[in-house]
Symmetry: C3
Subunit: 143 residues, 3 copies
């Protein structure tokens, strides 16, 4: 059995994600990027990798311009979070995620379900993402 | 950065919401109303505001009679909860919510996705809602 | 009012479920069964009851062979967990659950919404399921 994360840490990780993704959903991309380390890495699609905070902001601005340009409210839901302390002092977090998009005159639509793998580190007392990899379940089926 | 809620409080808020909404979903409206302060305020729709525990019970009974009179099981899901301690000792909680309705012979249907803003206070050691405002994402689009 | 579970326990239960159900979803049925006591009981359908760890493994293998034989990624989501300490030292956990299934070329599909009732016990310091009963909301409508 993997060593357990302390329960205080578990709530802290949940809270960190809630705050982080509310920033994403109101398109506060710079604030979102600040939840990553300076050299943070963020991959949401195969073959795509955004590095550093400015790189993450640029990627998110481009992504939303291309795919979510019209009137839409996006909400990221994370759940079933497993947190495993690593030997180097970082934490490996593995969890489920989806987005629910609300557009005018339509029912809310659930986007692809994803498995997310984060490496979290503590910098000056605060949790930060060192990396995030998002893998869509539908792409798992093709492999 | 806003000051962090202690991790113990975070779990307490999650647990409070789970218990509160299970009461709502089994239509224990008086028990639900007791999770609000005596002068509590509850708004689930623009222009609607229920005040005091008896007022909240009356609103919920009326709401369910009008909209959920037939056979239906309702389940409220809350997630991505951010808790910010306020200077007056209260807590501002901001989170995502939806309802999933199950009706005979149909797939479960997700109701509108909402952003909920609560003011929580501690009375005699227990958390209570001083107020709740529910805003549907689809109404954000019209503004 | 029922006595409250301590906040540390609440996070521990959430974490236990996340780890347990990630095992289920990657079809690590033996590891899943080890999250139950030796004499554990698991009922996911009316009239069905799997007992002991080998019995649970056999039931899950059979269930997946019959219903999820083709290419599908399954993800269990648990939420709105209420944990009530019992007089015998066990914990009664009551919560909402659904599965989201992703199949090739289709939108993710939410399975039936369920109310789950667990009895959890602590064995050698670790939480384990003594029993789990899953009840689908759509079956509540028929009763």
């Amino acid at each position: 059995m993997t060593s357990q994360a302390p329960n205080g840490l578990y709530a802290e990780v949940q809270h960190f994600y809630a705050r982080q993704m509310q920033m994403m959903d109101r398109r506060a991309f710079e604030a979102f990027a600040e939840t990553f380390t300076e050299d943070g890495e963020f991959s949401h699609s195969p073959g795509q990798l955004a590095c550093t905070r400015p790189g993450i902001v640029a990627e998110l601005e481009d992504f939303h311009k291309r795919l979510y340009n019209g009137p839409v409210v996006r909400r990221h839901w994370f759940n079933m979070i497993v947190v495993d302390p690593q030997e180097d002092g970082s934490f490996l977090a593995t969890f489920y995620a989806y987005v629910i998009n609300t557009r005018p005159g339509a029912e809310p639509q659930m986007g692809p379900v994803c498995l997310v793998t984060d490496v979290l580190v503590r910098v000056d007392g605060e949790l930060l993402n060192k990396s995030r990899q998002v893998r869509q379940d539908r792409l798992l089926l093709d492999s």
